[in-house]
Amino acid sequence: MLKVTDLAVARGGIAVLEGVTFEVAKGQAVILRGDNGSGKTTLLRTIAGLQEPLAGQVDCAPDSIAYAAHLDGIKANLTVEENLKFWADVFQSDQMSKAVEAFDLGGLLQRPANTLSAGQKRRLGLSRLLVTGRDIWVLDEPTVSLDAFTVKAFAEIVKAHLAGGGCALIATHVDLGLVGDTLDVMQFHAKGDSTLSSFDEGFL
């Protein structure tokens, strides 16, 4: 469903990864691993279309990627329900009750988001994935702040998504309890001579 070919990505004008090539098939989860600062976030942002690749390409159906990152995009002054409803409206989805149930948000629905604990906020942020109705999940450290029990529940949700014909690309430092290929991004570490962003390249 998602095919990445010879991709090179840069941050701050410097290539971090190059020659990234892999594929995620329907029903498959790929786990990205790599040390701090190895370029996982940069890679995921590029795949999600938030920044331009230096080289190579990302092939997938248009509008099929749901992206979730360190920041959850939660509005502190809206209630949990309003926050989720907003994204459901944007994605024109009717899956809201399913999302609420899956992430056990029922008891929190009327709470303003700024009264949630770190883990509860995270749950709300992740529940957005279910209302996007998109097939390819691109997740950056999704389980930060979650307790062991919720991590397990989340793994089940991802499995259900895969079983339903989706796929997932997940960067994480901890064990998610998912079966899936592991891809170490360190192997793609940019060598430093060939690739700088187009702007700087001209100056060498």
Binding site: G49, L50, I65, K75, F86, V90, F91, Q92, R128
Partner: protein
Amino acid sequence: MIALLMRDLKLAFRAGGGFGLGLAFFLIVVVLVPFGVGPQTALLSRIAAGILWVGALLACLLSLDRLFALDWEDGSLDLLATSPLPLEAVAVSKALAHWLTTGLPLVVASPVFGLLLGLPEAGYIFVVLSLLIGTPALSFIGAFGAALTVGIKRGGLLLSLLVLPLYVPTLIFGAEVARRGSEGLAVQTPLLLLAGITFGSMALLPFASALVLRVNLR
């Protein structure tokens, strides 16, 4: 897009006080000027129309600051950019929400503030009219400025510096309509020009804003 508009309106009401604050700022500028300038009625009524316009403009400006910045900081903008909504629609809806919460209340309230400054009687209708036609331009131009400075912490003053020169034509024509109206002169030409600026801004600037947002997200 409606969803985004509704959310922004809701947020404005929930946290910033909605209509109230823009108005309050406007009121305060109107009240401060006599303190600064001194209380002579004749003098004040001569500058009333101009002060109303300058006040409206500053009230708009002050609320621009966080138009996109909040969504940027908490990651919403990233998520919106990967959503089915085009960024152009985001820019339009932000500008609209800004106008509804800031520009429109100013238009409605301006006669009352005119009273405080001793605006000549003939002027009321023209002040309201010029603000009604002119303030949407302020919101759309402002949204462009806010999109430019979205990634910059403490961008508030930079935003003013960038946006205020862009406001100049709107201000001139707007204030000219109000002033000429107060003095009983013909207002057709500046009124048409003002309308032209407003429609031009509404038609073209959202594209510029979206472009700039996309650059800033990189």
